[in-house]
Amino acid sequence: MKKLCLFLALMLLVALPMTAYNSEKSVLRIGIIQEPDTTSPFIATLAAFNVIDVRVYDNLIEYDDNLHPVGGLAEDWSVSEDGLVWTFNLREGIKWSDGEDFNADDVVWTYTALIEGEYPQSVQLTGITKCEKVDEYTVKLYTEAPKADMESIRVDIVPEHIYSNKSLEDLHTFAEDSPVGTGPFKLVEWKQGQFLKFEANENYFKGAPHIDEIVYVIFANADTLMLALKNGEIDAVTSIASNQVEMLEQNPNIEVVKALGRNFQELGFNCWDSPESKGNPLVLDPKIRLACDYAIDKEQIVEIALTGLGTPGTSLIPPSVGDWHWDPSDEKHNYDPEKAKQILEEAGYIDTDGDSIREDSEGNKLDFRFAVISSYGEAYVKASLIIQKNLQDIGINTNITTMDGGAQSDLIYSQNFDTDMYIWGWSAELDPSLKLSVVLTEQIGKRSDCFWSNEDYDELYKIQVSQVDREERLETVHEMQRIVYEEAPYIILYYPDAVEAYRTDKFEGWTRVPEGIGNSISQVNKSTFLSIRPK
C-alpha cells in the first residue's frame, strides 16, 4: 500500500506541467526539422545555415522588402565606366557583437579569403580578382569583366580580428561556438538535435530588435512539429506537410502563408553524348524528351504530390524570381498526350510488336531506367508514379528504382551516369546566373547533373554574365531559357510553394517579402525579425 502511494505521488510530480517560460522576456519560438551543419560561413553548405547567418551576419548589399538591392554594411556604391572597378563606401559606427569596430579591414579579409581559397560562398565571387582597402571605410573590388550579378552577392562579412590568424587551410575546420557578427542577433547556445538560441543585439545598426530572444526548436518529425504549433508551444514553422494546411487554416490563431517558392524540381535526362556514358542512347534524342514534356500531366502532379501547394513548371528560372523568368505563353507545352504521340510517330518511334512500347527503326525499345530518390520526403516518389503512368500512355516504358540521395549522386557522378532519367531539384537565387550555369557544357561532371551540351547556350551564357544593361540581359536570359525548354534536358515539373505558418496571438509584425506575396521567416531579408514584437 505504501509503495503504491509513493508510486502515485511520483507519477503526479512528473505529470505536472513545467513552469511557464520566464514571462519577463519575449521569446519567439520557431520550429524546424533541418538544423544547420556549422556556424562558419566558410564551411556551411546546408540551406538550413540561413537560420544562423541571416541573424548573425550582414552583407555589403542587402535586399529590401521588394527584393531590390539596398545598402547593408555598405552605405552606397558605384562602378567605374568600364565596369571593372566597384567602389563601396562602408557605414561608420557599426560595432561587432564583441565591441570591436567594424571597418574596411573586415571586408577585405573576408573577400580575399573567399577569392584565394575555395569555400561554399566563393562561387558567388567568380570574376572578382581583388579586394582592396582604400581607407578606413572604403573598399574597391576589381573584376575581369563587367559583372552583372554584383549587387546580388550574399557574402557574410566576418570579423578580421577573430579570423586574421587563420590560414586558408584552417578555414575548412574553424568554427566559433558563438560567432561574432554585426547582425541583429547573437547565437548564444546551440544544443545539437535540440535547439538554437539567439539573443537580441541591442547595438544593431538598423535598430535593436523588439524581441529579446529567438529559439529555433528542432523536431524529428512533421507530426509533432504541427502539434506544437497547434497548442502554442511554438509560434511559427517554416515548412508544413502539405495536407496539414487545411487543418491549420481552420485554427483562428494560426495564419498560413503560401508564397511562391524559389525552388524547382525537374525530371532530368541523361544527355551525355559520350561513349563513356552508360545511359540509353535513345534519350539523347530531343524529340523523345519533348514528347515527354507534352505527355506529363504536371497539374495532376501538383495536385497529388504537393496537395496543390505549387505551380506546374515551365522554364528553368522560377517565376518568383521576377522578370528573369521566361513565360513560354503561346509556345507552352500543354498537357497533350495526343501531341506527344504525334511527335514520337513522326520521329519514327512506332510500336511494331504490339506490346505497347514503341521502338525505333532498328527495334530498340523506348524502355528507360528511372532513378528516384525516396529519402527526400514523398513528393518525388509520388511524382515518379504519375510520370510513369503518363509515359506508359504514350508508349514509353520506365523502370523505377528508388534510392537515397547519396546513391543517386553516386550513380550519376561515379558510375558513368548509369541511369536514363531521374528527379532532382535546385533552389534558385535572386540572380539567374548560377542556375543558368548548371546546364553548361563546362559543368559536365561538376555542377551539371544532366550532362547536356549546347554551344549556342554556352555562348549566350558568356554574354549575359557581363551584360550590365538590364534590358539586354533580360533578352539573353529569356532566350537561354527557351533553348532549354525546347531541348528539354530538364523537364521542370513544378515550383513548390514556400509555405509557412505562424500564430497570431502572441506576436505581431510578420512582414511578407516581397510585400503581400512572399513569405517571411525563411527569407534572406531580415525585415520580419526587426519588425516583430510581442502583442
Partner: protein, 323 residues
Amino acid sequence: MNLSYLSKKLSHSIITLFIVITINFFLFRVIPGDPFAMIAKAGNLSAEYKEELSTLYGFNGSLPIQYVKYLRQLFTFDFGLSFKYRKPVLEILGNRLMATLLLAFFAQLFAIILGTVIGTLSAAFRGKKIDVAALGFALFIYAIPAFWLGIVLLSFFSVKLGILPLNGMVVAGLSHPTTWAYIKDVVHHLVLPVFSMGLAICGGYAIIMRGSLLDVLTEDYITTARAKGLKRKDIVIKHALPNAMLPMVTIIAINLGFMVSGAIQTETVFSWPGIGRLVYEALMARDYPVLQGAFLIISLTVIIANFIADILYGYLDPRIKYE
C-alpha cells in the same frame, strides 16, 4: 569463479572487438555515394571544392594503408572529423550518447521490472486465468512495432491529455535557474519515451522469464520444497526466482544491441536528441566518420555489457563459481 574463466572471457571480448573494428572499417568503404560530391551538390559548389575536401580528409592511399591508419588513429582515440559538421566525431557522439544512455538505461530498468513481474505471475499461476492474461499481454506487446506504440502513446498522453511533452529532452532554450529544475525538466520529458521503449521491450523479457521460471519449477529441489509443505509464494520468490534470473542476465546483455534499434524509432517519434537519430541522419549524409564512430561505440558498449554479464553469471551460477 577462477582466473581462467575470467581471462577466457576477456580474451573473447577483445577478439570480438577487433573483428567489429575490422567489419566497421570495410563496411563503410564499400557503400556507394561520394559524400564530398553530395556536399558539393548541396551547396551548388564546384569540383575544386570537392577536391579540397578529399585532401582535407586524406581519402588517398590504398585500402590496406587506410586501414592501418585507421587503427593507429583509434589507439589515440582519434575518431576523425565529421564530414557534415567538421567537428571531431567524439564530440558529436558524446553529446548524443549521453541522451540515449539515459533513455536506454531507464527503459531497460522499466522493462526488466515489468517483464519479471509479468513473467513470474504467468509461470507461478500456470494454466490459470492470470497466466493467460499475463502471457497474452506479453505476446501482444512483443508484437507491436516500437514506433507505432510510441505514436499511439504520444497521441494519447501528449495530444489528447496534454500532460506530457511532445518533443525534446528539455523545454527548448529554457535557462534553468537550478540544477534541480533542470533534472525535473529532463525527467518530465523522459517519462513518455521511457514508458514507450520500455513497454516495447518488456514483452520479450516476460516470455523469457516465464520460460526460465517454468524450467526451474520442474527441478527436483522445487518438488522437494513443495513436498515439505512450503508456501507457494515462498517457493517461487525465495527458491525458484533467483535461479531463474540467471538466463535473464545474459539476455539483457545481448538485448543491448536491440536498444539501438528501439532507440532509433523512439528518438524519431519523440525528437529525443540521441545517438539513434544521429545514426539515421549520418547515414543520409554519408557521414562515414560519425557512422563508424557510432557503430564502434555502440558495439563496444554491448561487448562491455556482455563481459560484465559473463562475470556476473560466473559469480551467480554456482556451477561455475565452484569450479
